[in-house]
């Protein structure tokens, strides 16, 4: 059952190559190979065991935090929100990918009773769900009202996270006997900070990027 370190490294490298699909296609075409080479170098120079696991987690976290930034950047550069159907589909695809990853992690975590993986899976699950629903609401409100986008994002994700979490806590136990209230709660809290953090970042980089695009 235990795979040797070289196999583990290859598996993670393959997984990372697949996860790169979450980036905008142009970015992926331009830098996908370089990013894989970089990870390959990092893996070669990292000892097996905890240092390697730390590298993988850091790489996944980096991916999760930079994919939305690249998509936002892509949309800004093209100065078009509505006409970016492909970018929207890619974003939805990214969220679906997160959902699949979450499902696999949850299945694995449940089968092997690995609590760390379970919590990570719950967080991905919550990020995917609130990402799909919340960003759609934020987009529509920001597009068709004069409300400030950052404030809209704060309240949307706060309300969506709160309502979903409370609903799950109320009925989750009845639907699933193995329902993990703590894991789900942590997952939704992480998800709230993740999405609101991204919107905050978006608001911070806005002026500089606008000026660089207009020159």
């Amino acid at each position: 059952m235990n795979k040797n370190p070289a196999e583990q490294r290859n598996i993670f490298l393959s997984l990372y190559s697949i996860l790169l699909l979450a980036y905008p296609s142009q970015f992926r075409r331009e830098y996908g190979t370089q990013m894989t080479l970089l990870l390959l170098d990092c893996q070669r120079k990292t000892r097996s065991g905890p240092p390697l696991i730390r590298l993988w987690l850091r790489t996944l976290l980096d991916l999760v935090s930079t994919v939305p930034v690249e998509h936002l950047q892509n949309m800004r550069e093209e100065k078009s929100f509505m006409s970016k159907l492909r970018a929207d589909l890619t974003a939805i695809g990214g969220c679906l990918l997160l959902t699949i990853c979450a499902f696999l992690l949850l299945s694995y975590g449940r089968a092997h009773q690995v609590s760390a993986i379970l919590v990570f899976g719950f967080a991905l699950d919550a990020i995917a769900f609130t990402g799909l629903v919340g960003n759609l609401i934020v987009f529509l409100l920001a597009k068709f009202t004069t409300l400030k986008p950052l404030r809209v994002a704060l309240w949307t994700f706060l309300v969506l996270t709160g309502v979903t979490l409370l609903t799950l806590l109320a009925i989750g136990g009845r639907l699933d006997p193995k329902f993990n209230a703590t894991g789900v709660t942590i997952g939704y809290i992480v998800s709230f900070f993740f999405w609101y953090g991204l919107h905050w970042l978006w608001a911070q980089i806005g002026p500089h990027q606008r000026s660089s695009v207009s020159t």
């Binding site: 970015f27 830098y31 370089q34 990013m35 080479l37 980096d62 930079t66 994919v67 690249e70 020159t215």
Partner: protein, 123 residues
């Protein structure tokens, strides 16, 4: 794609920490992605670790802004993977890195004046 720019170095400030670290890494010589990452990690005693997405996201923006450029030829073609890309600072990149360093120096001076940092010995 490099945007033609007539912007002054000050227009780019403040830089993100990742961008400034990359400019610093390329200040003395051209490097490829992994070398940039290692240089930053060593220089900051492991406190700053640039992930692939952060590194290449910044590289993309810096190339577009004309702060760095990709080399057409690899410095040691026989010694490494031919797919590797090397980057170096442009003149504008040098000036922007200098302007950012000056801005940070000024902030440190202000912090010293407010006694948030110990005074440096002069003379």
């Amino acid at each position: 794609m490099v945007r033609k720019t007539t912007r002054k170095p000050e227009d780019f400030l403040p830089l993100t920490p990742a961008m400034f670290h990359i400019l610093l890494a390329l200040a003395d010589k051209e490097r490829h992605g992994y070398h940039i990452m290692r240089e930053v990690e060593e220089r900051t005693s492991g406190n700053v670790k640039l992930g692939p997405g952060t590194l290449y996201g910044s590289v993309k923006r810096m190339i577009a802004d004309g702060l760095i450029e990709e080399l057409d030829e690899r410095p040691a073609p026989d010694l490494d993977d031919e797919r590797r890309r090397y980057y170096r600072l442009t003149d504008l990149g040098f000036r922007v890195a200098g302007a950012e360093a000056q801005r940070l120096e000024q902030l440190v001076r202000s912090a010293r004046a407010k006694k948030l940092l110990p005074r440096t010995k002069t003379g």
